[in-house]
């Protein structure tokens, strides 16, 4: 009963076949994620540990980027508003920009770079050094322990980080507005929040949740399915970042369209 010797002929072309097989595999991976995430027992301890690694350890970088983004954006917007003598609109302009667009995007892109690459590399190196197989043979479910915890952690942490980025970004903006227009903190806050609706906040939280899930699932998929060898590790890290960022932009466009049609 020797399996037949003929090499299989591709359906469309080799590249197209590989692409569709990959898409199919990713959807199976996502389906498996939901199946395993819902099944007890839950890996609470490892989940908290991952939240610490993913969320807390990103705070320093996020603080710096968020603060600078707010500050620079304010500085650069001032001349245009000054032409109309409308610099008093700065706080509300900036807050809309930060809450609707900048905070979710900056957070997601920074995390795609920092968290995505580290999840991709970590899982890939566990895979190629057979640590994943080692868990499997000692009757531990590596998908649950490694993948589910990390994807859940990015999905939960990135919206939280987004809120934090927004606050830090507005703080950066306030610093600049305070130094130039001598606006008080209370006045700044009043002006900043007058135009922010629950829809804005909700849409940004939703967007960040989607971004977080994307970063987690993409980098976990690539790491968990890394090909043999050490160069697979570097490749998994690299491709995780590129693919996550690409998908984040696509999702951003789609979600903005949907939200604007509701508004």
């Amino acid at each position: 009963m020797e399996p037949n010797e003929q090499p299989e002929k591709p359906f469309i072309s080799k590249g197209a076949d590989d692409f569709f097989i990959n898409v199919y595999e990713i959807f199976r991976f996502i389906a498996r994620f939901f199946r395993e995430a819902l099944r007890r027992p839950w890996e609470v301890k490892e989940f908290i540990h991952q939240c610490y690694m993913i969320g807390y350890k990103s705070l320093a970088l996020i603080s710096l980027t968020g603060f600078i983004t707010g500050l620079v954006f304010t500085k650069q917007s001032r001349p245009s508003l000054a032409e109309f003598g409308a610099t008093s609109w700065l706080p509300s302009l900036i807050s809309i920009a930060v809450v609707r667009a900048l905070a979710p995007l900056v957070t997601a892109l920074i995390c795609a770079g920092k968290v995505g690459s580290s999840i991709g590399a970590e899982l890939a190196s566990m895979k190629v050094t057979e640590q994943v197989d080692a868990m499997e043979v000692s009757a531990i479910n590596p998908f649950k322990y490694l993948v589910v915890t990390r994807v859940l952690a990015t999905t939960v942490c990135i919206p939280l980080l987004m809120c934090y980025t927004a606050v830090v970004g507005l703080a950066g903006s306030y610093l600049d507005v305070h130094l130039n227009e001598q606006t008080s903190l209370i006045a700044f806050i009043q002006k900043a929040f007058v135009n922010i609706s629950f829809l804005d906040l909700g849409a940004s939280l939703f967007k960040s949740t989607v971004f977080g899930f994307t970063i987690g699932i993409v980098s976990a998929y690539l790491g968990y399915n890394a090909s043999q060898g050490t160069q697979g590790v570097g490749k998994a890290a690299n491709v995780s970042v590129v693919v996550s960022m690409f998908l984040i932009f696509i999702e951003e466009i789609v979600i903005v369209q949907i939200v604007n049609s509701i508004r």
Partner: protein, 257 residues
């Protein structure tokens, strides 16, 4: 040659493989493998690199699915088990990876405790520490308990890998190239450890190797693999007494190195 091991129970077959085939695309790795392992027996699988030895034991452990054939381990058909039964079976089958496969984010002690924490959550920490001490002592590395895997040598990693496998008290041990890449003295230590594990923990084993010394010292039964099939089986002397070119080639190849 290894002296006859009286503990082997030839009426009790713990692993029985019949007509096993496995291909990766057009690469036909296993082409009709038959193998029996009896209780208490060390079976050595000898073969050149890339002949599919690792694939064979990965199928036994349920990490890979065969294309055709049956794999019966401790009376169960591995292929057809549901998740729960496969989990239970895996606790009884220990797998030692080629490079130890230690979890490199954990210390040696945590590596050893991990399978117990996950599989036997009711075991209290004091008792767990005792179990860790016992297996660490069995592999002679009690002093490394707080070290990270990256601080260990290749031979130490393998021994810790063996200890981590032993901690669940398996009935069957699968060793993937336990002596590859080690100096002769460390090889001897590992070979002795394999025999000691066989006696002390009363295990049946499959030992994969291309090291003839290891085969000679640890094997009760030796199976030589070539191009995805076993071309000869028996004890060391019967396998190598033949004038068969294939065997001779393997023998010479090993000793020239």
């Amino acid at each position: 040659m290894k002296p006859f091991t009286p503990e082997i129970d030839f009426d009790n077959t713990v692993i029985s493989i019949r007509g096993l085939y496995k291909s990766f695309g057009s690469n036909h790795v296993l082409r009709g493998v038959d193998l029996d392992v009896h209780k208490g027996e060390n079976v050595v699988v000898l073969g050149r690199s890339g002949t599919g030895k690792s694939v064979l034991i990965k199928i036994i452990a349920g990490l890979l699915k065969p294309d055709a054939g049956t794999v019966n381990v401790l009376g169960l058909e591995v292929e057809h088990l549901d998740n729960q039964s496969l989990r239970e079976l895996r606790m009884k089958v220990g797998f030692c990876f080629q490079n130890g496969a230690l979890y490199d984010s954990m210390t040696v002690g945590e590596n050893l405790a991990f399978p117990i924490i996950r599989n036997q959550p009711k075991v209290r920490s004091a008792q767990r520490a005792k179990l860790v001490d016992v297996v660490l002592d069995a592999v002679g590395l009690s002093n490394t308990i707080d070290q990270m895997p990256s601080e260990l040598s290749g031979g130490q990693r393998k021994r810790i890998g063996i200890a981590r496998t032993l901690i669940l008290r398996p009935d069957i041990m699968l060793y993937d190239e336990p002596t590859a890449g080690l100096d002769p003295i460390t090889c001897t230590e590992i070979n002795n450890l394999i025999n000691e594990v066989q006696r002390r923990f009363n295990t049946s084993s499959i030992i994969i190797t291309h090291d003839l010394t290891c085969a000679k010292v640890t094997g009760d039964n030796i199976a030589v693999m070539k191009e995805g099939q076993f071309i000869r089986q028996g004890n060391f002397d019967t396998v190598f007494a033949t004038g068969d070119d294939l065997i001779k080639e393997f023998y010479d190849y090993n000793f020239i190195q």
